[in-house]
Structures are given as structure tokens and as C-alpha cells.
């Protein structure tokens, strides 16, 4: 049937090949509808890219972005030779990889779990409870962390002290990443699970029935029906996440920073802020930022290629 339709429509429009011009003429209403979005992307995402050249020039206010003296890779070399270079790379990778390893599977597990709940009201209450923290602003969240983890007065601080975890966790180099990642998971797990729940909702009920008739238990249903159903979503989200692997959450890290956890909490983005914005080294900061973006871009391409080869799922 489908085949017949295809051949039929093909025979009708046979003389015209699908060239770009043709698609414009044929679907101009669609193009018109998407035009505002295209304009926005060009204005806000592409035009500002000419600022990249700042990384190769000595910034001069009077001459504007494009006028400064061209210095080539000087600022990049300066960054590579910086004493903080390897520390920054290590901290950034450590924090973002831990975030992905711990934070990425959590919403999947939660979605599968929530999907098993048959009691509708309870399911709704649970879902709302877990996604609400998503709306807490980062400043408030870090404030909460400070209050709760305080070793003398905080609820969590006192509890952990009872369990034998001594000292001030906020000041500890070892505790920084766990606190950062776990609070991140707590905050976003509910929200991120929504997309998986949506994917699960689209699973054909016939598959469930068939599985049940075959005698599958809950665990087997999850393994053989539900997980395969959301794998495309998982892969796409993983690829997208890899594109930001080296962009840690600047605000949260910056707010959680103090003089004691600095050896682990100084990441590329906080360093860019300190040199670029606070000390007016615009060109240097632009170079570091560009370096950061290049790595992200490469990660995105690599992961996409792997996913395409292995699972035949990809962004492009």
C-alpha cells in the first residue's frame, strides 16, 4: 500500500527534480514560518562568531573588535604555558565526566521506576516532588548547601558527623566533586526524566501484552521492552551531553568555590571569568574560551561518529 502511494506520487511529480529552489517554491509557507527562527539564530548565534578573532588579536577598545594588532596564537601559547593549564584541564574533565557518569543514568533509572508505578495519584505526586528542585535558582541552591552542610549548625553536617564524617565538607578538596555532582543529580533528575517518560509513553501497548503472554516478569519487561524503546532517546541525549563535556556549570562552581577547595574547584570557565572579566584580559580569555569550545566541538563529532557506526543513531 505504502509502496503504491509512493510510486503514484512519484509519477505525478516526475518532471521536477527536488532542487533547493523547488523546495522553496513548493514549501514557501513552511519556510516563512521558520524564517523568524532562522533570523534569530543568525543574529544571536552566527553573527557574534566574528568575535572569535579577538582570540588572535590584541584587543584595543579604540580600534574595536576587528582592529587590534594581529598576534596569531600568542594567547593560546600563553595559556598552554600557564602554570594552571594542566590543573584546569584535570579539574574540568574530572568534574564534567563525573557529572555525566553519575548524572546521566540517574533520570533513566528514575523514569523506568516511575513508569512501573500503577497508582496514578502516587505517581503524579512523586513526579512533581522530584522535578520541583529544578526550579530552585543556583544561588539559592548553593546557599542551601552552605546552610545544611555547616559542621556546627547544618542538618546534614551534624548527621554526617554522627556517621563519622568529620570536618567541614565545604572546605574539603575530596568532598567537592561528590557534593557538586550529587546536588546536581538531586536538582535535575526529575526534570531530565520527563523526556524518557514521554518516550516510554509511546511504547506500543501490544508489546507489553505480548511480553506478558510470554510470561515476562517486571524486570524482563524493563529489559526487553522499555529499555530498547528509549535507546534512541538515550543516545541522542548522550551525544548532546558530550558536546558540553568540558563546559561545567560555571555559576554553581563559582559560587561553591572557597579558598580551601580551590585546588579542585578552579576550572577553565572560572579561570576565564577571573582573567577576562575581572582583570580585563579580554583577548586572553577569548582564546581560552575558544580552546574550550573547540574541545567540546571535537567531542561532539567523535561521539556522533561512534554512535552512527555502532547504533546507527546520530544527530546528523
Amino acid at each position: 500500500m505504502a509502496f503504491a502511494q509512493a510510486t503514484k506520487s512519484k509519477s505525478v511529480s516526475q518532471p521536477k527534480k527536488a532542487t533547493i529552489l523547488n523546495t522553496f517554491r513548493r514549501d514557501y509557507q513552511l519556510w516563512l514560518m521558520i524564517l523568524p527562527a532562522i533570523i534569530c539564530v543568525i543574529i544571536f548565534n552566527y553573527i557574534p562568531m566574528y568575535g572569535i578573532q579577538l582570540a588572535f588579536r590584541k584587543y584595543d577598545f579604540t580600534a574595536g573588535l576587528t582592529g587590534g594588532e594581529f598576534v596569531g596564537f600568542q594567547y593560546f601559547i600563553q595559556f598552554f604555558n600557564s602554570h594552571l593549564f594542566w590543573d584546569l584541564i584535570r579539574n574540568t574533565l574530572l568534574i564534567s565526566i563525573t557529572t555525566i557518569v553519575v548524572g546521566f543514568p540517574a533520570p533513566i533509572a528514575l523514569a523506568l521506576l516511575v513508569n512501573q508505578i500503577r497508582w496514578k495519584r502516587g505517581k503524579r505526586i512523586l513526579q512533581t516532588t522530584v522535578y520541583l528542585p529544578h526550579f530552585i535558582s543556583i544561588v539559592v541552591l548553593v546557599g542551601l548547601l552552605n546552610v545544611m552542610l555547616s559542621p556546627n549548625t547544618g542538618v546534614l553536617g551534624l548527621l554526617l558527623a554522627k556517621l563519622g564524617v568529620e570536618g567541614n565538607l565545604l572546605a574539603s578538596v575530596n568532598a567537592f566533586i561528590p557534593i557538586y555532582v550529587l546536588s546536581d543529580v538531586w536538582q535535575h533528575v526529575g526534570w531530565n526524566s520527563i523526556i524518557y517518560l514521554a518516550a516510554l509513553a509511546s511504547v506500543d501497548p501490544q508489546l507489553y501484552d505480548a511480553a506478558k503472554i510470554d510470561g515476562a516478569n517486571r524486570w524482563q519487561i524493563i529489559r526487553n521492552v522499555e529499555i530498547p524503546a528509549i535507546i534512541p532517546t538515550i543516545v541522542i541525549l548522550l551525544i548532546l551531553n558530550m558536546g558540553t563535556v568540558i563546559s561545567t556549570g560555571f555559576e554553581k562552581i563559582f559560587l561553591m568555590q572557597n579558598s580551601l577547595n580551590l585546588p579542585i574547584s578552579e576550572v577553565i570557565e572560572t579561570y576565564v571569568y577571573k582573567t577576562g572579566i575581572m582583570s580585563n584580559q579580554f583577548s586572553y580569555a577569548a582564546a581560552i574560551g575558544l580552546f574550550n569550545t573547540m574541545i567540546n566541538f571535537m567531542m561532539l563529532v567523535v561521539v556522533n561518529t561512534i554512535a552512527k557506526k555502532v547504533a546507527r543513531i546520530s544527530l546528523w
Binding site: 516563512l32 524564517l35 584587543y59 577598545f61 579604540t62 600563553q78 600557564s82 602554570h83 594552571l84 552552605n146 555547616s150 559542621p151 556546627n152 570536618g167 567541614n168 565545604l170 572546605a171 578538596v173 568555590q257 572557597n258 579558598s259 580551601l260 577547595n261 580551590l262 585546588p263 578552579e266 579561570y271 577571573k274 582573567t275 572579566i277 575581572m278 582583570s279 580585563n280 584580559q281 579580554f282 586572553y284
Partner: protein, 536 residues
């Protein structure tokens, strides 16, 4: 139909583009009905400070200068706003605020700000008077190329140091102890505070023997234990900053000095014995203030640093505390004792007022700025209007009045009524002023520190804020300092909380040298030598 849609979209796009394009700002001088020049102004003020339109003195000054200023009042997030404003090149005619625009901004955005030097020569009698009577103010205002973009201030009444040390006398009395005179005695006293129920409330564990203000990642500031470096004879300024100090005219940095190592070791000894607040490194300043205010009559903190007793401990427990003279490093230490010398930082300030180079009527703007530096006006900038805040008791004599609201302390009254310390001012030395009670008590509490400063030589006081670096040197130093502070401040915290300074010290010094500290010291030394020559 199709044509209509296309036309509709076309018109829409045109409107969109029209909205994007910039209206040409008119440079025509505007005037009010009574012939005053209309200018725009921006001030970064304290959140407590009342609206500018309610300040009587300001209204008078504007009238006298023949200007009418449309003020924009910024109380928060100035750093973020500033970047966008400067990069856009669209700035108000006059900008007021403590270092709101920095020397680095002048270097980064040349041509945006007016060189005030010729204008001062024509229309700036009050400013010239300040420059003559307080030569440091001229040095502070002048860039390395001789231009003047931002004007400094002279505030006169502020004391030699911003950081005093306080100890709880009542606790000492309860336990039969004396005020410590060296680090070893301090250790014993703090130990007693911790072990026994010093505040006498029945709970021997609620005392915090020692607390200090949180250390920022960019360097040291007021109310931090670096002031104890004075016990070794070192004079630091502004609480320590990035460690640069002066000894016999030679620029050094205490972060690689053995005396600093001694201090950190001894602080570690305190910390390891549970004598320093566990939250000293993670609390914010408001927590630091709140903890010391105790609970009711019950004081919580034994030994700490602050600006003034009631400010630090609140009215309830302030009476329990005394300020005391800087300690010696050890009982057998023979050398001089010093402290953080902050007189310049407290009484002078850089870049308090700037003018845009685009200002339509520069003479009028200069008249207004000059008027702010009139000594009588300056007094009102600091304490509030004559009438509600200040009483004129003689030709050159004034009395700062107590707050109208009886529950308010004089400090808060000052900050709510006027620009206070955030304003440009020149408080001439020949004004006779009866100060408010808070300033008087600062003076009394400072007595033990004054004695120390009598022996301090000018060649031992680093005039950090007086040195104006060229853009190139400034950039070079900033990059080194960012990396250097990253290492040094985190090591400072680590060594105090976990120890290990003896094993790591040599590697650390080597690393700091590699980062480039020696070249920074060299740069600063050459600027200092120039500054000295300028003064002579």
C-alpha cells in the same frame, strides 16, 4: 492574497530593523527653565543610602554649579553593568563611586573619559587646593602619562588601621587569665577558652576560641590573621592583599617569607587543636558577623578581628571585649612589633569621580565636580546635610549630630543619609569637626595600635595604592598574580587546616618563582622608586 502576506512580512522586517538601529544621541546641551545645564550622572551607592533627590546638600550644590543632574543610582551588580556600559561606549556625563571606574578601565577604553587636567587648571580651584595641601591626592589622581581621568579623595578622620584585635575580657576574668602578649600565651588562653566553660552558661563546648573573616581567593583583606605578621616586625598594608610589602625601601612579598611560614605553622597549631572556627574558610562575611554577636548576653567568640566593638559584636555583648596591643611572636623576641597599616587606604581613595569625554558642557560638569571638593560640601558628602545631620557651630567648626532615629547607630545613620565613604571629598585639615560617637570610640579602641605605629618608618610602609602602572605592566602583573594567588591562597588554607608546610615549603617557593613573582617585584620596585622621587 499572496502579495499581501509578502508585503506584511516585508513591513514587519522593516519595523524590526528600524527598532534595532541606534537613535543618534543628540549632543545639544539641554537646559532647564531656570537656565541650568542638564547632565546625566551615575552613582554606585550603598544599598542603605536614601535616594539622591532627598539629599538637601546635593540639590544646593547642583544649583550653585548651575547644573541639573539626572541621576542613575546603582546599588548592586555594578561590575556586570559596567562592562556592558563601557564596551557600548554610552556612558553618563558624570560617574561617582569608589573606584567605580578603575585605572585598568581607563587603559582599556581610551578616549571614553575626559582628561580633567586642563579643566582643573581653569575651573577647579577646590581640587587644586586639595592637590596642594595633600600632595598624595594629586599622585593618586594622575596616570603614568600625566593625564587625570578619575579624581581621588581625602577623608582625614579615619584611623591608622582598619583591623583591630579583640579578646573577651569577661572570659579572661572568669578563668583568671591575662591578655596574651605573645603567640604562645595566645595559644594557652585559647586552649583555656576551649576546654573550660569560659562564658559560664554551663555548656563547655559552645565557645569558639578564635575566628577570622573569610579569606577571598584573590588575596587577603581586613580582619584576617595576616595582621599577626606584625608580631614578627613586618608592616603589611590593607590587611595583606597579594602579599607585597616594603622593608627598608625594598619591595618584598610575604608569601615566600620565612616569617609568613612561622605564622602559618603557628595557625596550624591552633587549628589542629580546634581553636579556630571550623567555618573560618567557608562562611561568608555576614555569617562571620552574626556568630560573634552571640546569643543574648552569651558571647560565642573569644579572640577575633574587627573594625569597632559594637560593629563587630553588637550592642549586647560588645562590653565584654577589649582591644589590645599587637603581640610579639615569642616571649624572647627582641625586635619591633608592627600591624597592618591602613591609613592611606582608609583616608585616600582612587577614582571617585569621572567625566565622560562626550559631555556636552564640560565647564558645567567641572563646576559641579569642583563644588563637591569644597570642604564644607565634602563634610556633607560624608555625614549628611547641614541641618538634619550636621550643625554648624562656628565659622570653620561643625558638629556631627546624633541620629534622629534613636534606635539607629551613628554609622548606619551616616550611610543612610548621605554618600558617606562612597563619595568624592576633601575634608580639609583646618576644619574643626566634632565627630559622631562611633568614630570617637574607634579612636579610643585604637589607642594600643597607635603606639605601635609611632615606631614605624615610612620606608617600611608599602604605598600600594599610590603606584600607577602602565597598561602593559599592569597586564603582565595581573596574569602572574592570578596564577600566584590561586596557588598561594589555597596553600594558605591547606597548611592551616591540614598542615604540611615544612615538607612543602621549598617546592612551593620554587613554584611561586616560576610563576613569575620575581619579575612582579622588580616592576613594583621600579614604580616605587619613581614614586619616592616624585615625593621628594
Amino acid at each position: 492574497m499572496k502579495k499581501k502576506i509578502v508585503l506584511f512580512i516585508f513591513v514587519g522586517l522593516l519595523l524590526f530593523l528600524a527598532a534595532c538601529s541606534n537613535d543618534e544621541a543628540s549632543n545639544e546641551p539641554e537646559e532647564t527653565e531656570d537656565g541650568r545645564v542638564v547632565l546625566t550622572g551615575l552613582i554606585t551607592k550603598h544599598p542603605l543610602t536614601k535616594e539622591l533627590k532627598d539629599m538637601e546638600w546635593l540639590e544646593e550644590v547642583e544649583k550653585k554649579a548651575g547644573v541639573d543632574i539626572k541621576w542613575e543610582e546603582v546599588t548592586a551588580d555594578w561590575d556586570q553593568k559596567k562592562g556592558a556600559m563601557l564596551a557600548g561606549g554610552d556612558i553618563p556625563d558624570i560617574i561617582v563611586g569608589p573606584n567605580a571606574i578603575t585605572d585598568a578601565d581607563f587603559a582599556q577604553f581610551p578616549g571614553l573619559f575626559e582628561n580633567l587636567k586642563p579643566l582643573i587648571e581653569e575651573n577647579g580651584a577646590n581640587i587644586q587646593a586639595m592637590f596642594e595641601q595633600q600632595p598624595k591626592t594629586e599622585i593618586l589622581s594622575t596616570q603614568s602619562n600625566g593625564d587625570i581621568y578619575g579624581l581621588s579623595k581625602y577623608q582625614r578622620f579615619w584611623p591608622d588601621t582598619a583591623t583591630m584585635q579583640f579578646i573577651n575580657q569577661q572570659w579572661l576574668d572568669n578563668l583568671g587569665l591575662e591578655v596574651p602578649t605573645n603567640w604562645d600565651e595566645l595559644f594557652d588562653v585559647l586552649m583555656a577558652f576551649k576546654e573550660e566553660d569560659a562564658n559560664g552558661n554551663g555548656d563547655p563546648n559552645d565557645e569558639i576560641p578564635m575566628d577570622f573573616s573569610p579569606v577571598g581567593e584573590g588575596g587577603f583583606g581586613y580582619f584576617q590573621p595576616t595582621v599577626l605578621l606584625g608580631s614578627t616586625g613586618m608592616t603589611i598594608t590593607g590587611g595583606g592583599g597579594q602579599g607585597y610589602f616594603l622593608e627598608d625601601g625594598e619591595v618584598k612579598n610575604f608569601f615566600t617569607d620565612d616569617r609568613y611560614k612561622d605564622l602559618v605553622s603557628s595557625l596550624h597549631k591552633l587549628y589542629a587543636n580546634g581553636l579556630i572556627s571550623e567555618e573560618a574558610f567557608t562562611q561568608d562575611y555576614s555569617q562571620y558577623q552574626a556568630v560573634a554577636r552571640g546569643e543574648g548576653e552569651n558571647a560565642k567568640v573569644g579572640y577575633t578581628f574587627g573594625w569597632e566593638k559594637t560593629d563587630r559584636f553588637g550592642l549586647q555583648v560588645a562590653d565584654q571585649y577589649v582591644s589590645f596591643a599587637p603581640m610579639k611572636q615569642s616571649a624572647d623576641y627582641q625586635g619591633d612589633v608592627s600591624w597592618s597599616y591602613d591609613y592611606d587606604n582608609l583616608n585616600y581613595g582612587v577614582n571617585f569621580v569621572q567625566m565622560s569625554s562626550q559631555t556636552s558642557n564640560k565647564e558645567a560638569a567641572m563646576r559641579f565636580i569642583n563644588e563637591l571638593y569644597d570642604p564644607e560640601v565634602s563634610l556633607q558628602v560624608l555625614f549628611g546635610s547641614i541641618g538634619p545631620n550636621i550643625e554648624k557651630t562656628g565659622d570653620n567648626a561643625y558638629k556631627v549630630l546624633a541620629p534622629q532615629d534613636e534606635e539607629m547607630d551613628p554609622g548606619t545613620w551616616k550611610w543612610t543619609s548621605s554618600w558617606a565613604d562612597n563619595g568624592p571629598m576633601y575634608i580639609a585639615d583646618d576644619l574643626e569637626v566634632e565627630l559622631p560617637t562611633d568614630m570617637q570610640s574607634v579612636d579610643e579602641q585604637q589607642a594600643p595600635f597607635k603606639e605601635v605605629f609611632e615606631t614605624v618608618d615610612e620606608n617600611d610602609v608599602f604605598p600600594g595604592m599610590m603606584l600607577k602602572y602602565s597598561e602593559e605592566d599592569n597586564n603582565k602583573m595581573t596574569l602572574v598574580n592570578t596564577d600566584f594567588m590561586n596557588l598561594a591562597i589555597s596553600k594558605f588554607g591547606e597548611w592551616i587546616t591540614s598542615g604540611g608546610i615544612d615538607e612543602q615549603w621549598d617546592d612551593y617557593v620554587k613554584q611561586v618563582d616560576q610563576i613569575g613573582l620575581p619579575s612582579n617585584i622588580e616592576i613594583i620596585q621600579s614604580y616605587y622608586d619613581d614614586y619616592k622621587a616624585q615625593l621628594d
